[in-house]
């Protein structure tokens, strides 16, 4: 390295010339004043511009834009991948919608319970209820709503009546 340093002696002397390049006389007298007045003007004017704020808060956006500036081909690639992502999101959203509907149809408690209850014999106690109309029951109360089917048509013969329990007459 010393040998190399020695070899660059002439160059280093030449580079000393740069130290003699000076700005116009009195240039630095006003420099700090200009900086401070620009800061004051910025503060009075409502602080930073949008770009400056973006640069301080999300510098990665600015970096991304700079990369796009230098490589325009990347913009196309980025836009294509964004579109693909959007399409995928839409497709998957549709699918998950259908799947959840199917799941709802299958797991609808009223539907399953209704069908099982419908196949059960109606307790004779209902028939035996007295005319007072006071009915007590420990069976789950089901509505008279028709069971929902796949195409929204009410299934015939699947209407339910509340099962009642009448206290046994003395």
């Amino acid at each position: 390295m010393n040998e190399n340093e020695h070899n660059f002696e002439e160059l280093k002397k030449l580079l000393k010339l740069k130290q003699h390049e000076v700005p116009p006389p009195g240039y630095f007298n006003n420099f700090s004043g200009q900086v401070v007045s620009r800061i004051r003007a910025g503060e009075a004017g409502g602080a930073q511009t949008y770009v400056e704020r973006l640069q301080s808060e999300a510098p990665w956006v600015i970096n991304l834009l700079r990369i796009f500036e230098t490589r325009p081909g990347l913009i196309g690639g980025f836009a294509t991948s964004l579109c693909l992502l959007l399409v995928l999101v839409v497709v998957f959203a549709d699918r998950s919608d259908v799947a959840s509907k199917n799941l709802l149809t299958v797991s609808d408690p009223s539907a399953t319970m209704g069908s099982s209850v419908a196949s059960m014999p109606v307790p004779s106690l209902v028939a035996a209820s007295d005319s007072s109309g006071i009915v007590a029951s420990t069976n789950p109360v089901t509505s008279l709503q028709p069971v929902a089917t796949l195409f929204g048509q009410p299934a015939s013969g699947s209407l339910f009546q509340p099962a009642g329990f009448a206290p046994a007459s003395q």
Binding site: N4, H6, N7, F8, E9, E10, L11, K12, K13, L14, L15, K16, L17, K18, Q19, H20, E21, V22, P23, P24, F28, F31, S32, G33, Q34, V35, V36, R38, I39, R40, G42, Q48, E52, S56, R66
Partner: protein
Amino acid sequence: MIMSEPVPIVDASMPAGMLEGDLVRRARKGDLDAYDELVKRYQQRIYATIYHMTSNHEDANDLAQDAFIKAYSALKSFKGGSTFYTWLYRIAVNKTINFLKQRKNKHHYSLNDLDFNTENNPDLVALISEKTPVREAGLTELQKKLNEALMKLSEPHRMVVVLHDVQGQSHEEIAEIMDCNIGTVRSRLFYARQQLQSYLSEYAKPA
């Protein structure tokens, strides 16, 4: 009776007599007088670095002011992990390199005049004396050639040469400013000098 040397009286309450850390603390709280003092302390070095990188006085003026304004607005994020001077330098260096990248290879020279002491520098006089093969070249011509050669270097290589060979910064300081290791600084410096030597072969021949 022995007269002691006069001791300069430093008023610590005045910005000019304050330590850098105190000035930074006050500037962070919005004290523009303190920041004005910080600008005065570093304006020449910051300006010179940018000027040597751009070879353009107007660009250097704008970039130096922008660097100081950016530093002021970012003072709250200054953690004190390095000196304010190094941190400020880093802002100026990044701003300059970004500017040069945007400008690409379009160089507009606006060179400052050489000061009166140039002709008293024996090394430089020797370069343009009758003993040299380029005796007809004046200092101004030499200045132009030197700037053109520097502008042929890539920004990181030019920056290392400017900071080390022109500004006199140490390898360690440059590594901190440029956020790289010392080995990188040394290798960049060596390569940049080699390049410069080949561009300026008629002036600077290896010993």
